[in-house]
């Protein structure tokens, strides 16, 4: 787990015209519980995410924040309660799971690009095989999103030839090629050198500006302050506090949050 830091997202003017939260519910989590063996990792999670929301989830290691977002696309199984994504109830039905996964993009801490495929093939694979998009069209889409994350010139290289920041931007583009309605980020900058964090955060800000619904597990408090409309603090598998970023940082209510914030912002 990378240590928390307040890496500066360079103060740039954020275009908020597309950042609108609608009334439509994107994700509905009700009374969700999860155990690893006998260990109770997530306890009674209730969370409603509306379309267009940008939620940052933070908390100490082992607080269950990664597990929470991994439950949303069924990379982890929950044992109690319900998760509804875009109106589809997450159950054991593999068809439902695959449908939800193709609607929900995910970006991982370690990128998880496919090293045996070129950047372009990484991006076109899922559209071709899952969405049955014709190859030509999938490649056009892929180039569009690679340009969007500003690395179209790397399209024919392999992931091993790219820097960490570039790989993470490819991973974002790869998810976007499936035209997801929701994006999950699992500590997207924790494995990166400080120099590269900025380029990834910039890409994520851009995505937020386009109105994407985003759930981001991160320690980048600058990003949370600027982009998020809601910050959630988790500890011991529970949601301890959630608030608008301004209030959350200036005026935390619980002692646990205060301690956490003083630890990560304090030095």
């Amino acid at each position: 787990m990378a240590e928390a830091h307040t890496n500066p997202v360079e103060e740039r003017q954020i275009d908020r015209s597309q950042m609108q939260v609608s009334d439509e519910v994107a994700i509905e989590i009700a009374g969700m519980n999860k155990w690893y063996g006998t260990f109770h990792v997530l306890r009674d999670i209730d969370l409603t995410v509306n379309r267009g929301e940008r939620i940052v989830i933070c908390g100490p290691s082992g607080s269950g924040k990664s597990t929470l977002i991994r439950c949303i696309n069924a990379l982890e199984e929950h044992q109690k309660g319900s998760i509804t994504v875009d109106g589809t109830l997450l159950s054991n039905d593999l068809k439902n799971i695959d449908r939800i996964r193709s609607e929900v993009g995910m970006v991982f801490q370690h990128f998880n690009l496919f090293p045996h495929l070129t950047i372009l093939e990484n991006c076109t694979l899922a559209p071709i095989w899952v969405r049955k998009t014709p190859k030509r069209e999938a490649e056009e889409t892929a180039m569009y999103f690679l340009e969007k994350v500003k690395i179209p010139e790397q399209a024919n290289k392999y992931p091993g030839q790219l820097s960490g920041g570039q790989q993470q931007r490819v991973a974002i583009a790869r998810s976007l090629c499936m035209r997801p309605r929701i994006m999950l980020f699992d500590e997207p900058t924790s494995a990166l050198d400080p120099e590269m964090i900025k380029e990834v955060l910039d890409t994520m800000i851009q995505l937020a500006e386009d109105g994407m619904t985003m759930l981001v597990v991160t320690h980048e408090m600058g990003f949370a302050r600027q982009v998020a409309n809601r910050v959630i603090f988790m500890d011991q598998g529970q949601i301890v506090e959630q608030n608008e970023p301004e209030e959350f940082f200036m005026n935390p209510k619980s002692d646990r949050t205060k301690l956490f914030l003083s630890q990560i912002l304090g030095h």
Partner: protein, 438 residues
């Protein structure tokens, strides 16, 4: 600034040093010799001693091999030629045994007027395997690859053409069941039916259908029974069939062993452990002796076919463990990356997991293949005439009684060439597939 320089406490570099060539002792042949042969006194002595040993071996063996006699009809004739040419008792090889018994070593007792069939089969096999080994060749060739097992079977064994065609039709039936029954009876039912229907067809329908068609429209070439197969042809047929059949089976077993589905998992584990835990020779005896007890009376299940099945199962169990190692070596992130994009199980295996896992497993897979190919010589114990079996038969004749080295050197050399070729191909493949640019 000037103050700092004056005090020489801190340091600021104002020019960067350009790159220079290394000193002469650190480059070229001199460097190589120094590093590899004469890096210390002990190594220098070892080098000299080694050179002497190599000289001694080569000087004794090379003459024996190079001056060998190629033209004689028996060992005694060979010795007469030798005495006449090199003087009494000179030590030279008698390669004449190879020229004299060449056909037998290659084809066993296959009818000599039909030798063109195995030779053509070998050529066609090379054509069929080429697009699998080299992906720069046109993909259309894979259609021939798919048809080749039946073509090769027909060429080697002959008989009516309807036999291989009827067997091939089973695959078409399986595909049709999968294609048309799945919408009616669901995915799982479709898959099960696509396995069960062709198997039933092969067991009960192929014989009568092929027989009836053969009577109605007799097209075919002369039938050659398995008993006539021998020599390197036998080793190649068993080895190649085993290699080609065991790879997909091994992959399925490896996936089965990783599966969450209880029955598939346990079946794979038991299969692998039982097959791997018993010596191949025991399985071969099982194939030749015991299998008849389990089969319905009166069925004549070809011995060679039984051996191929046993060899396939045996190496599939090893391959499964090799492939499982490759699967385990992949980071979990690869599985999650594939899952998160919505790929289903078979898609993620085929497109993401197996290409990487198999690449990691190439050395182990090729080792298993080489082992399998060499183990084909074990069939001599159940009475099949592989090269070793034939060499025993040749040495038992009055003509060639007393000859050892020449035959075994030749057989060993042939196996070495094949195995070395496999090894070289696999190393080329590994280099080609390397995309991590370390």
């Amino acid at each position: 600034m000037s103050e700092v320089h004056a005090q020489t406490v801190a340091y600021v570099r104002d020019t960067m040093i350009p790159q220079e060539a290394p000193p002469p002792t650190e480059a070229g042949a001199i460097k190589w010799l120094r590093e590899n042969l004469f890096s210390s006194w002990l190594n220098a002595i070892l080098t000299v001693v080694s050179l002497y040993v190599i000289y001694w071996v080569v000087s004794h063996v090379a003459g024996w091999m190079l001056f060998g006699i190629w033209d004689a009809g028996s060992l005694s004739e060979c010795r007469e030629v030798r005495d006449a040419t090199y003087g009494e008792g000179a030590s030279v090889a008698c390669w004449a045994v190879l020229t004299d018994r060449w056909d037998q070593l290659m084809f066993g007792f296959y009818p000599s007027e039909l030798y063109w069939r195995p030779v053509l089969a070998l050529v066609l096999f090379l054509v069929a395997i080429a697009p699998v080994l080299y992906d720069s060749l046109p993909r259309k060739m894979l259609w021939f690859t798919a048809a080749s097992p039946f073509v090769l079977f027909f060429l080697l064994w002959g008989g009516t053409i309807w036999g291989p065609l009827a067997v091939a039709a089973g695959f078409a039936i399986g595909w049709a069941v999968l294609r048309f029954a799945t919408p009616v009876i669901g995915d799982l039912g479709g898959i099960v039916a696509a396995f069960v229907v062709p198997i039933l067809y092969w067991f009960f329908a192929v014989g009568p259908i092929a027989g009836a068609l053969g009577n109605a429209i007799p097209i075919g070439i002369e039938f050659v029974p398995s008993d006539d197969f021998g020599g390197f042809m036998l080793a190649f047929v068993i080895g190649i069939a085993g290699i080609i059949l065991s790879l997909p089976l091994g992959i399925l077993l490896a996936l089965g062993r990783q599966s969450d589905l209880f029955i598939i998992n346990k079946f794979s584990v038991i299969f692998i452990e039982v097959i791997r835990g018993v010596p191949l020779i025991v399985w071969l005896f099982t194939a030749s002796l015991l299998l008849n007890y389990f089969l319905p009376p009166g069925t004549n299940f070809d011995l060679m076919l039984r051996v191929i099945i046993m060899v396939t199962l045996f190496s599939a169990a090893y391959l499964a463990e090799v492939v499982r190692g490759g699967l385990a070596a992949l980071p979990r992130g690869q599985y999650e990356g594939a899952d998160s994009l919505g790929l289903d199980y078979w898609q993620s295996m085929r497109l993401i997991i197996l290409p990487q896992a198999l690449k990691i497993s190439i050395p182990g897979i090729v080792s298993t293949f080489i082992g399998l190919f060499k183990d084909t010589t074990l069939v001599v114990f159940i009475g099949l005439l592989d090269p070793i079996g034939l060499s025993n038969a040749i040495r038992a004749t009055t003509d060639w009684n007393g000859i050892y080295w020449e035959l075994f050197i030749f057989i060993g050399l042939c196996f070495f060439v094949c195995c070395y070729a496999m090894s070289q191909y696999s190393q080329w493949l590994e280099r080609k597939l390397r995309t991590d640019h370390r």
